[in-house]
């Protein structure tokens, strides 16, 4: 059931990304998501960028809804329902490598918090097209995390993709990979993980309508796993031989190539 929640704070991460602190605490697992409703406009899915204490939502402006979000301020209200998603990140390995593209870092942050609290090793790879699109992570992650930045144009950190960085890190004892970002990037991560036989979890974005596993709109071929219900986090083996990396469906349900 939707509940209106107060925005307790807004932080600008970079020119197109803001983090919203909501006046709400929930019991959820890293990787789960919520539906945020702007009355009169629309309702869209977002992961949790922080789960202990007031929850945080990190949003990238990409279209009409997220643009409207950028204009929201402390004290404003937004509709919240969730948390949703049975597919959640789980800590399996001793040394977790987190691979993120842009705002894809968001749902991975609570996982990093959890891994650190549990005394596990954490490497974070954070990539973007260019320096401006990176999220400032140094302070948020702290000293216990080894952070690798990558940009396609080399404007900051390593030149290349997050997946390039992952390949280089693999020898360092990584025994679990968790990834979130653009689907082509994640497809590469999946291939690398399969190759290296490392346990790997990935998040999937599909057009969500109901968000609760009823309307079937977010079903993926051929398993018919529902992103909103069975995901949004999946294990690598659930995604091999699937539509993942190849196509998705638009708002009408029509197939569009990635």
């Amino acid at each position: 059931m939707i509940e209106m929640v107060k925005i307790a704070g807004v932080r600008e991460e970079n020119p197109t990304v803001k983090t919203f602190t909501l006046d709400k605490q929930i019991d959820a697992r890293p990787g789960q998501f919520c539906m945020l409703w702007i009355p009169g406009l629309d309702e869209k899915p977002f992961g949790f960028a922080k789960l202990n204490g007031n929850i945080e939502i990190m949003v990238r402006s990409v279209g009409s809804y997220t643009r409207e979000m950028m204009s929201l301020d402390e004290g404003d209200l937004i509709g919240f329902r969730g948390p949703y998603g049975d597919g959640q990140f789980k800590l399996k390995g001793k040394h977790i490598c987190v691979v993120s593209g842009g705002v894809g870092i968001a749902p991975l942050l609570p996982l990093v918090d959890e891994a650190l609290a549990d005394g596990r090793g954490v490497s974070v790879i954070h990539g973007a097209k260019t320096k401006q699109e990176l999220i400032p992570l140094e302070k948020r992650l702290g000293d216990d995390v080894s952070l690798t930045l990558t940009t396609d144009d080399g404007s900051c950190g390593m030149e290349g993709t997050a997946c390039d960085a992952l390949r280089e890190l693999l020898d360092g004892g990584v025994d679990q990979i968790c990834a979130c970002g653009p689907e082509p990037m994640m497809k590469s991560v999946l291939d690398v993980a399969l190759d290296a036989k490392i346990y790997c979890q990935l998040t999937l974005e599909r057009y969500l309508k109901c968000g609760i596993g009823v309307c079937g709109h977010c079903s993926i071929d051929e398993s018919a796993l529902m992103v909103c219900r069975d995901g949004p986090v999946f294990e690598a083996k659930q995604l091999v031989k699937s539509e993942f990396g190849r196509y998705k469906r638009d708002k009408s349900g029509a197939i569009i190539d990635l």
Binding site: M35, W37, D42, E43, G216, H217, A224, K251, A254, I255
Partner: protein, 303 residues
């Protein structure tokens, strides 16, 4: 113990059917429901045009059910036909192709069109209350319901299910007219209401469409009454849909006169495993109460 049932000569392994609009957007999803134990599966209603459907929110979770106004989203008839064909080919249980039109004529055309995929049944959804542009549901007038039935029957040889709305003054009159015009099976009910949920903090109706159809537990008494009344009035079999989430619910529907039961909203709480859950509980009930086949249960509450 026999769980089989029959709808217009077509046999179902068990009486549970995935209801239209729930999960069944893709062939893969229909396949999954079938593998999870549904006795038959129904596609989301296929329409004559590509439609995005309503903006979110399209559902409201209530304590005793759902409000939904998905708005008949549809990738368009060609793409729907491809998915349907794939479903019919890959699924070893009866596949029901649900469809709608914006006029009597169009119902006929759509019936002809989707029949190309050779589904086991086609189901005319004359009852969707959510799409304002289509006006009041066709299913609200016995005369129109009859005309649509005839137009569809003239366009195809595939057995026809007509799905009725409960939001009418006398559902019996509509059922009788639909039977008279050649329907092979009646499916009842579509969602109730519609209803509206307002967020009192913002003052906004939550659904972008403002109103949406009510489904789930809270409509079961209405569905049972409709099935009871319809099966008293016609001879063709009835699929009872509305709030079924347990074996006992299924028994109630069957006793009211249904030959099979549709399951929609229950997927929300129980996931797609709900079909196995229902058939399991149904078998428990049958063995505890010494029933050996569904025939002994179907229609028991009458007379």
């Amino acid at each position: 113990m026999k769980l089989t049932t029959k709808l217009a000569k077509i046999k179902l392994d068990n009486p549970t059917i995935l209801a239209s609009g729930v999960l069944g957007v893709t062939a893969a999803a229909l396949n999954r429901a079938s593998k999870s134990g549904a006795g038959a599966v129904t596609t989301k209603s296929i329409g004559p045009q590509r439609r995005e459907g309503h903006d979110n929110p399209v559902v409201v979770e209530l304590d005793c059910g759902l409000l939904n106004a998905v708005g008949l989203s549809c990738p368009g008839p060609e793409e729907s036909l491809r998915e349907l064909t794939k479903a019919v080919k890959s699924i070893d249980k009866p596949v029901i192709a649900s469809f709608y039109g914006k006029s009597i004529l169009e119902f006929g055309h759509m019936a002809e069109f989707i029949s190309k995929a050779k589904p086991d049944f086609i189901e005319a959804n004359i009852s969707c209350p959510n799409v304002g542009e289509f006006g009041l549901p066709f299913g609200c007038s016995a005369k129109t319901a009859g005309k649509i039935t005839k137009a569809v029957k003239n366009s195809t040889d595939i057995p026809l299910i007509v799905k009725l709305t409960p939001n009418v003054v006398d559902i019996r009159a509509i059922a009788i007219e639909v039977e008279k015009n050649g329907a092979d099976v009646i499916c009842a009910i579509n969602t109730v209401g519609p209803g509206m949920k307002i967020d009192v903090t913002s003052g906004y109706p939550i659904l972008s469409n403002k109103t949406g159809g009510l489904s789930g537990e809270c409509i079961k008494p209405i569905a049972v009454r409709c099935v009871y009344e319809i099966s008293e009035s016609v001879d063709i079999p009835v699929i009872g849909v509305g709030g079924v989430s347990s074996g006992i619910d299924a028994v109630e529907m069957l006793m009211a006169g249904a030959a099979a039961v549709g399951v929609g909203t229950a997927v929300w709480h129980h996931g797609v495993d709900v079909f196995q859950k229902i058939t399991g509980e149904l078998m428990d009930f049958m063995s505890e109460n010494n029933y050996s086949s569904l025939d002994e249960i179907i229609g028991r509450s009458h007379g």
